[in-house]
């Protein structure tokens, strides 16, 4: 049976850490995203025609939101579990009456919550620069939560795997950010010349960006059901990997 008090203690402790690092956690990503909106939305976007019937500034909103969601969810969760390993405080977690469920709900729940707060701030900030609408707001919320949870799980795995800060930064910086840039954040893959439009479909981030874009504008380069299915599959894989980590004690217990 899940130990809810322990779960809540982890969740609250992680959010407390978030409050203490509010500049790095909120101001920095909001500032970065705002710069994207100024450069690509307001400055350059004004000179670009509509993409799939959507003004360019509005077109890039879901992609930029996804960029922040992926990197922040991954980083928050990976730091959340890596820091106790680094400081030695992991002993307390390992000796506490908590298993995989409490740890995941606590750490991943907190990381996902931070991402959702950030997503809300970014969407509000975007309103200052571009006009956009959300065609399926409820679906958008569910999808954002799903992506935040999935990549927080990925971050948790990275945090357990990492043996140094360098490795911790490797996946968000060297894999997720480039794939998101190439995943249709700033363009529709229809705009790519052949064969790059086909090759782009091998990039899993394309499905995430387009899934979110569908919830905003009701249209996307790929089917929403494929996007949703792949996101759920990714979430299931991450949960399974974490279950194995806890069962074997990999990189946690000696």
């Amino acid at each position: 049976m899940i130990n809810w008090r322990s779960t809540f203690a982890i969740y609250r402790n992680e959010l407390s850490r978030f409050r203490r690092t509010v500049f790095g956690s909120i101001v920095s990503p909001v500032l970065t995203t705002s710069l994207y909106f100024i450069v690509f939305g307001a400055a350059i976007g004004g000179r670009i025609n509509e993409v799939d019937g959507v003004a360019y500034g509005a077109f890039i909103v879901p992609g930029l939101l996804m960029l922040t969601l992926l990197s922040e969810s991954t980083s928050n969760a990976s730091f959340g579990i890596y820091m106790p390993k680094f400081t030695g405080a992991i002993y307390e977690l390992l000796s506490a009456p908590v298993g995989v469920a409490e740890t995941l709900l606590g750490f991943v729940g907190a990381a996902a919550t931070k991402s959702l707060i950030l997503a809300a701030i970014i969407l509000t900030t975007a309103m200052l620069f571009v006009d956009y609408t959300i065609a399926h707001p409820l679906f958008a919320l569910v999808y954002i939560m799903l992506v935040a949870a999935s990549f927080s799980l990925l971050g948790f795995i990275l945090g357990v795997w990492a043996e140094g800060f360098e490795k911790l930064q490797m996946v968000p910086l060297l894999i997720l950010t480039p794939l998101t840039f190439l995943g249709g954040t700033f363009y529709s893959i229809d705009m790519l010349p052949s064969p790059w439009d086909k090759i782009a479909l091998a990039n899993p981030i394309v499905y995430l960006v387009n899934g979110l874009r569908w919830t905003f504008y009701g249209q996307s380069d790929v089917s929403i059901s494929v996007s949703l299915g792949l996101t759920l599959a990714f979430l299931a894989i991450c949960v399974a990997v974490i279950a194995v980590i806890f069962r074997t004690g990999w990189r946690l217990r000696s």
Partner: protein
């Protein structure tokens, strides 16, 4: 006949082999009684921390069983861990958090409802109340160690592990911690501590276990161990050189030093026999007209017993 109380912790055949082949624990059997202070002594790398880690969930055991509070720890780990506290050897916590919040976090993590009064009680008992709003990184080393103890006590454990609790702290703080551990015993908490300071075990422990190279060499009541393995040692500094051991001393375990200027008595059994024999040796010397100018006598400490045991084990291996 009174029934034998069930041990609070019952370890059977515990073995831990690390990847690479290092056998950190070798078929360890150990019973811990409710309410006692048990000191686990051993040199560096003996397996003390691995043993604690195996009970507390940081180490995956290779074989053996651990029963805590009468239940199999591998199956009932959630309920057991709620009743176990651990003060680790290394300082490990979120240095940027405040003392009070970290101690409150520990209470919640171990499944206990928030209780500001209890947290205040714990912090006051460790002289941390005035520091409750401070970031842990700003505290002195001794205070940080107290925070670790406060975190371990926050959920009111019945079984408390202290892994080298006074390593690196000054003498005054060490004495202070001994008092606190004594207070925990008064409250009925069972304490298992590992230590390098044999004085610590001698001062506080009810029972002592000696571990080396993963094997538990001996477990006994501290007093019984002192009685059984205790020795008296006395050195008589002679006024004049003796060519040989005087015949009146042949019935005693006495030796003459190579330079013929010191008589050394090594004997007794910790029951007072040694002291009586030293007095008899002194009387015999006086009666024989052998003048001695100084007498240096000491009872063997737990440290002597420990060193002797570990050395004997080393020779046997």
């Amino acid at each position: 006949m009174e029934p034998i109380p069930q041990p609070i912790l019952d370890i059977r055949g515990l073995t831990k082999v690390y990847p690479g082949g290092l056998k950190a624990l070798d078929n360890v059997d150990l019973e811990i009684r409710k309410g006692e202070i048990f000191a686990l002594l051993g040199p560096n790398g003996a397996g003390k921390t691995t043993l604690i880690g195996a009970v507390c969930g940081m180490v995956r055991i290779s074989s053996g069983t651990i029963n805590a509070f009468g239940e199999d720890l591998s199956r009932h780990w959630r309920s057991a861990r709620q009743r176990i506290g651990l003060v680790p050897q290394e300082l490990g916590f979120d240095m940027f958090d405040t003392v009070e919040r970290q101690v409150g976090y520990s209470r919640g993590l171990f499944g206990r409802a928030p209780d500001a009064n209890r947290i205040e009680e714990v912090l006051r008992s460790l002289s941390l109340w005035d520091k409750r709003g401070e970031e842990i990184r700003k505290l002195s080393g001794g205070m940080k160690r107290r925070v670790l103890i406060a975190k371990a006590l926050a959920h009111d454990p019945e079984l408390l592990f202290l892994d080298e609790p006074t390593a690196g702290v000054d003498v005054e703080l060490r004495r202070d911690m001994w008092r606190q551990i004594g207070a925990l015993r008064e409250q009925g908490v069972t304490v298992i501590l590992t230590t390098h300071y044999l004085e610590e075990a001698e001062e506080m422990a009810d029972r002592v276990g000696v571990i080396d190279k993963g094997r538990l060499l001996l477990v006994d009541e501290k007093d019984a161990m002192m009685r059984r393995l205790g020795r008296t040692e006395a050195h008589f500094a002679l006024a004049a050189q003796l060519p040989e051991l005087p015949p009146v001393l042949r019935d005693y375990p006495v030796t003459l030093s190579d330079d013929g200027r010191t008589l050394c008595y090594r004997g007794g059994d910790g029951t007072g026999k040694g002291k009586a024999e030293v007095a008899a040796v002194a009387t015999a010397l006086v009666q024989s007209g052998i003048v001695f100018t100084a007498l240096d006598q000491k009872e063997s400490s737990l440290e002597d017993i420990f060193v002797d045991l570990v050395e004997r084990q080393g020779l046997a291996a």
